[in-house]
């Protein structure tokens, strides 16, 4: 079976010369949820922007067996739903419903089919009530749900979420984890919130300095205190990943 998402030998340098990706190797199997951890500046957001061709470096990105190139950019963008770090960047239409409709409308869907897509996407994140509201009047948690719905409306094969818990209160995080768990889609979740990663993702990958430096079952990764410390990660005080001694 082909993996949902693969990145091989991915290298990218920002125009100012900063090497943000330095040979990234990553495979996410279909139906899995994988946490992408790592310190500030590790290159996580840069990697996310490569997964649907917004940034293009050298190396290859393969989504569901299809290698990203100039010809299939549109198809890749349909397959990969990206939820941005700042929901304000993602929501730009006058109402949430129109924002959710934006993606599928770009795919040429219209009429009742479009309405159904919008309802369904909002329904999956339990946010039907937000449909008529202007996005700039929503709370942080509501914005996050709306932003996820805009990506789901494209019916992606892979959902990439960049720091979905930032700005959410503890209950909001728990609700978000519950919502994401109900979604039947492959997920790459970038986060600094280790308990959130543990609650949501079977597998974790650690990135540092433009490279993948460790991967494994989330429980094991988070139990490895030395590994975490080396990459400026730490569990909240008194929190333990698994039952095995650390």
């Amino acid at each position: 079976m082909t993996a949902a998402l693969e990145a091989h030998a991915l290298e990218f340098r920002y125009p100012d010369g900063r090497m943000a990706l330095d040979g990234v190797e990553l495979v996410v199997d279909r139906g899995h949820r994988v946490a992408l951890l790592g310190p500030n500046g590790a290159g996580k957001t840069t990697l996310a922007l490569h997964l649907n061709g917004i940034l293009r470096g050298s190396g290859s990105v393969v989504i569901g067996g299809l290698e990203l190139n100039d010809e299939n950019l549109a198809e890749i963008r349909r397959r990969v739903g990206l939820v941005f770090q700042d929901a304000n960047d993602q929501l730009f239409m006058p109402t949430v419903a129109e924002d959710v409709a934006f993606g599928p409308a770009n795919l040429g869907i219209d009429g009742d089919l479009l309405d159904r897509r919008v309802e369904e996407a909002l329904g999956r994140v339990d946010a039907m009530a937000l449909a008529p509201r202007p996005p700039h009047h929503l709370s942080g948690g509501e914005k996050r749900s709306a932003a996820i719905a805009t990506a789901l409306a494209m019916e992606p094969q892979v959902l990439v979420l960049d720091e979905p818990t930032s700005g959410l209160d503890p209950q909001g995080r728990r609700e978000l984890a519950e919502t994401l768990r109900t979604l039947d889609v492959t997920m790459l979740v970038i986060t600094h919130d280790l308990p959130f990663a543990l609650a949501l993702c079977e597998k974790s990958v650690i990135m540092d300095d433009g490279r993948v430096v460790a991967e494994g079952p989330t429980k094991e990764v988070l139990d490895n205190e030395n590994l975490l410390r080396r990459h400026r990660l730490e569990m909240p005080f008194g929190f333990r990943a698994g039952s095995s001694p650390g």
Binding site: L49, N52, I54, A74, R77, R78, V80, G81, L82, F84, D86, N88, D89, Q90, L91, F92, M93, P94, E98, A101, F102, G103, A105, N106, L107, D110, G111, L114, P134, P135, H136, K143, T150, A151, M154
Partner: protein, 254 residues
């Protein structure tokens, strides 16, 4: 605060004008402005009638006149320029309160002020009753090339982002004890203009990336699928039609 929302100029209301399909409103506004622009400046009362016409549209859309007038301050530079004309233009001189002014200069000044104010009032009423994505979709519908509408869309987007960033920076300054009440007191804001441009630019880039990620190809999808009915076009033609009657009457009378 979301990026790129049309709320700076938009007045949330439910009126007949708000609910007209955007292409009807855009076409109506363009036709009206063309008639205004081509009316000879000597037909003074025609301009008064135009003013009354756009004023009634504003009232009908439940926009406060004050809202329109305050936003019309944007044409101040034109007025400043126009006020020089009577003094610099040559030709026959007339006495105004004991000051000698050029007759043709006075007419030229009146021409600029009258047409600029009416044009500005029209765009303000259009913007107050139509959200930006709708204006763009309306232009698309009227067969304006997508390239122009995307450029226009991004200009509006960056302007709004900049206004938003100014708001944010002002909050940041106020919370550290600096609260400029007037723009000319805002030396730190002026000093941080560079940062402001970069912040707005980068934010705009991220919004654009988010649009690309959802398959944006340069043309706003048309989400309000209501095609204009004959009645919509009739309602929309009221403004330009009455302007046309005024213009023709003015020709006949003078």
């Amino acid at each position: 605060m979301g990026a790129g929302h049309a709320h700076a100029l938009y007045v949330h209301e439910h009126s007949l004008v708000h609910h007209l399909p955007p292409q009807v409103k855009v076409a109506s506004a363009i036709a009206f402005v063309i008639i205004v622009a081509t009316t000879p400046r000597e037909d003074v009362w025609a301009f008064v009638a135009y003013g009354a016409a756009i004023g009634s549209v504003a009232l009908f859309s439940r926009i406060e006149l004050r809202f329109v007038l305050v936003r019309m301050l944007g044409i101040l530079p034109f007025i400043a320029f126009a006020s020089l004309l009577p003094f610099v233009a040559s030709g026959e001189q007339v006495d105004v309160f004991g000051v000698a002014m050029s007759r043709s200069g006075l007419w030229a000044a009146w021409n600029v002020v009258a047409k600029a104010s009416l044009g500005a009032a029209t765009s303000i009423v259009l913007a107050a009753t139509t959200e930006v994505p709708d204006i763009l979709a309306g232009l698309n519908k009227l067969k304006v090339p997508a390239l122009f509408t995307s450029i226009a869309g991004f200009m509006v987007r960056y302007l709004e982002l900049m206004v938003e960033e100014i708001g944010r920076m002002r909050v940041a300054m106020a919370s550290r004890g600096y609260d400029p009440r007037w723009i000319w007191q805002a030396r730190p804001i002026a000093a941080s203009t560079g940062a402001l441009f970069i912040r707005s630019y980068e934010r705009g880039e991220r919004v654009y990336d988010a649009m690309l990620a959802r398959g944006y190809t340069g043309e706003m999808p048309d989400l309000r699928r209501r095609d204009p009915s004959r009645r919509d076009w009739v309602v929309g033609s009221l403004l330009p039609a009455s302007a046309l009657i005024v213009a023709l009457l003015a020709r006949v009378i003078t």
